[in-house]
């Protein structure tokens, strides 16, 4: 019974007895295998090295080198692949047979040979050999794939880091903890300066793990940086991020996220939380911390029409901090399956004495709770800092300036339904950026323009009284009223007029902002001492400080400011 070509093996036969050797060779060849013959152990090892047979039939007792030593050497040469060695033996003592296996033999057959048993043993050993071969191939394939995967992750991470670190995570008022491979846990942390000098920061957590969790990060980061740099506020940025994720992600994928905007000059922080665990506003004056609860559906779930971009605004001054974290913190479990939970976290927040150590203390508490640290938690803390200490936000322009427009005017009127949803400031600022002489003051320009716009909208069109903002409670009420009145707005307008005129080698910009409101007594408001520790009243003094001239006419309904610049070298 000959074997098929696929099962045809090269079999090495080592036996010092010539007649035994010839007999065995004849049997094995008749079964369809190729035979190599050796007359002692040393010759067998030599033949094995040269010809690499797949199976060895080995006599135990041989001159020069015995079968035990030859078996040991052949096994060593074979390395990881299985070369079955079947001992040929007339030995019958248990101890001797055991020696055959100890030396690396896989089986033995007793002399004289039974052809059927011998054929069955060769086949059985060959099956083992093939199994080992398959296992090794699969192991190597897995190793290779794993290496590819790690390399792909490394490249993807390097590309992504270029994007993520283009922001301002290194600003002195930000402290954070993130695993180096957080991207592949779906965690995302981004921060960037807005042209106004505000800081935007996003902590996101995509559903899932690995590559699927990472793919949404790039488009999200692009929208975040793009819109922040152009001067869009949180609501517009949120709407755009949600719409983009909704469009590109499969239905069952979404991104839990918290977005904050820190306004250092006006000492405010604006917060939106959709699906992240409670964040915390930690007060510098010792008041108990304020939880910033998730009140929204995560990004990428709702259609543009039902998405809710309402944010909460809180006073944010010296000593105040915002603390954001991913669900890896509160969802950590100990051996018994108990959650770390919000209460243990709050304990850490309450007992924290040195703000610089807060993140470390949360880590320690987690490690004590679990007995080991986790590498998939993200935490970030943003502190209030004097705006002067943060340095100016840097914006890079790429055009030459030859085509800068120097003598023009433009007027805009934004009416009720537009005021409800549209923020014209980024467009207006973009337009003014065409005037190169204004670029050095673009931050001041943006702040003044947005102050005048929000004054016109909130106090003029919506008729809100900023005196409401004198305490924390009124502060909340103010922003609730703002949202309600804006939502119900039927009439009203804001008109904005720009006049750019050349003056010597430089030029001058006049901005006037007029609203449909009741006006106010500008002389009286401006004569008040500047607010230091109050929650309101920073707007007008900012405008006064930052522009070259400002005045209110038309019973406070029209504000005019001027910016001048010298010729550029």
């Amino acid at each position: 019974m000959a074997v098929s070509a696929a099962e045809r093996l090269t079999v090495l036969i080592a036996d010092d007895n010539a007649s035994d050797r010839m007999l065995l060779s004849a049997i094995v060849s008749r079964q369809g295998h190729d035979v190599l013959a050796a007359s002692d152990g040393a010759e067998a090892v030599g033949l094995f090295e040269r010809r690499r047979p797949q199976l060895v039939l080995m006599d135990a007792m041989m001159p020069v080198m015995d079968g035990f030593e030859a078996a040991r050497r052949i096994k060593e040469l074979a390395g990881e692949s299985l070369v079955p060695i079947i001992f040929l033996t007339s030995l019958t003592e248990g101890e001797d047979l055991a020696r055959c296996l100890d030396a690396g033999g896989d089986d033995f057959v007793a002399k004289p040979y039974n052809q059927i048993v011998l054929a069955a043993k060769i086949n059985a050993m060959n099956r083992l050999r093939l199994l080992q071969e398959t296992v090794l191939q699969q192991r190597d394939m897995i190793t290779r794939h794993h290496k590819y995967l790690l390399n792909e992750q490394r490249v993807a991470k390097a590309v992504f880091d270029q994007v993520a670190h283009s922001g301002c995570l290194s600003a002195p008022n930000i402290r954070y903890l993130q695993s180096p491979y957080a991207l592949f846990n779906g965690d995302l942390l981004l921060a960037a300066w807005a042209p106004s000098g505000n800081m935007h920061l996003l902590l996101g957590d995509f559903t899932g793990h690995g590559l699927p969790a990472a793919v949404g990060a790039m488009p999200l980061a692009e929208v975040f940086y793009g819109m922040t740099a152009k001067g869009y506020g949180l609501p517009e940025t949120l709407r755009e991020m949600n719409a983009k994720l909704k469009r590109i992600l499969p239905v069952d994928m979404f991104c839990c996220a918290a977005l904050i905007c820190v306004n250092f000059k006006q000492q405010l922080v604006e917060v939106w939380n959709g699906g992240l665990p409670d964040a915390y506003l930690l007060h510098g004056d010792g008041r108990p911390h304020t939880p910033l609860v998730s009140t929204h559906v995560p990004l990428g779930v709702l259609s543009a029409g039902s998405f809710d971009d309402n944010t909460q605004v809180y006073p944010f001054g010296a000593g105040d901090r915002v603390f954001l974290l991913s669900d890896g913190v509160v969802d950590s479990t100990d051996e018994s399956g108990e959650l770390f939970g919000a209460r243990r976290l709050q304990n850490v927040l309450v007992t924290n004495r040195n703000p610089a150590l807060l993140i470390e203390e949360v880590q320690w508490a987690l490690a004590r709770f679990r007995g080991q640290a986790r590498d998939d938690v993200s935490m970030v803390e943003v502190a209030y800092t004097e705006p002067d200490l943060l340095g100016p936000p840097s914006v890079i322009y790429t055009d030459s300036g030859d085509s800068s427009p120097l003598d023009w005017g433009a007027s805009f009127e934004f009416r009720a339904s537009t005021l409800k949803r549209f923020n014209p400031l980024p467009y207006l600022l973009q337009l003014l950026q065409e005037v190169h002489g204004l670029r050095l003051q673009s931050s001041e320009l943006y702040i003044v323009l947005s102050e005048l716009y929000s004054n016109a909208l909130e106090h003029g069109v919506l008729g809100l009284n900023s005196a409401l903002k004198r305490d924390a409670e009124g502060f909340g009420l103010y922003y609730t009223l703002r949202a309600e009145r804006l939502d119900a707005l039927q009439d009203g307008f804001i008109r904005i007029d720009f006049q750019v005129t050349p003056a010597g080698s430089g030029g001058r910009l006049t901005i006037s902002v007029q609203d449909s409101g009741a006006g106010f007594d500008a002389c009286h408001v401006l004569s008040l001492p500047p607010a230091v520790n109050q929650l309101s009243g920073r707007g007008l003094s900012l405008v006064k400080q930052l522009s070259d001239r400002c005045q209110w006419t038309d019973g406070g309904r029209t504000a005019s400011v001027e910016f001048a610049w010298e010729g550029l070298a």
Partner: protein, 100 residues
């Protein structure tokens, strides 16, 4: 089997019951429970015996909601225990599903 489904006599409502953990390992069974369903107008996911729910389960609920008509879907998450309610609350899923 941790996912079972049951159609009301008038075929208007499909109830899907999940026992134990509702996470990625339930994915195939959960999808299988509603994917071929064309008649039901209302869906109920009975979480009475669900003791754990992770973010991939939230994703699966969104898939069901999508299947049931997206923004017009009538999907109720019934018998949620307090832990499950907490998880649903963080993601404000009460804005997408009837929770009771």
């Amino acid at each position: 089997m941790s996912v079972t489904s049951d159609r009301s006599p008038d075929e208007q409502q499909l109830t899907i019951k999940i026992k134990g953990r509702f996470d990625f390992s339930t994915h195939q069974d959960f999808r299988g429970a509603y994917e071929k369903e064309t008649k039901a107008k209302r869906y109920v996911v009975d979480l009475k015996e669900t003791n754990y729910l992770d973010s991939s389960a939230l994703g699966m609920l969104l898939l069901l909601r999508d299947h049931a008509g997206g923004e017009r879907a009538d999907v109720r998450l019934a018998n949620c225990n307090p832990d499950v309610v907490k998880i649903l609350a963080i993601s404000n899923f009460s804005k997408l599903f009837n929770i009771g």
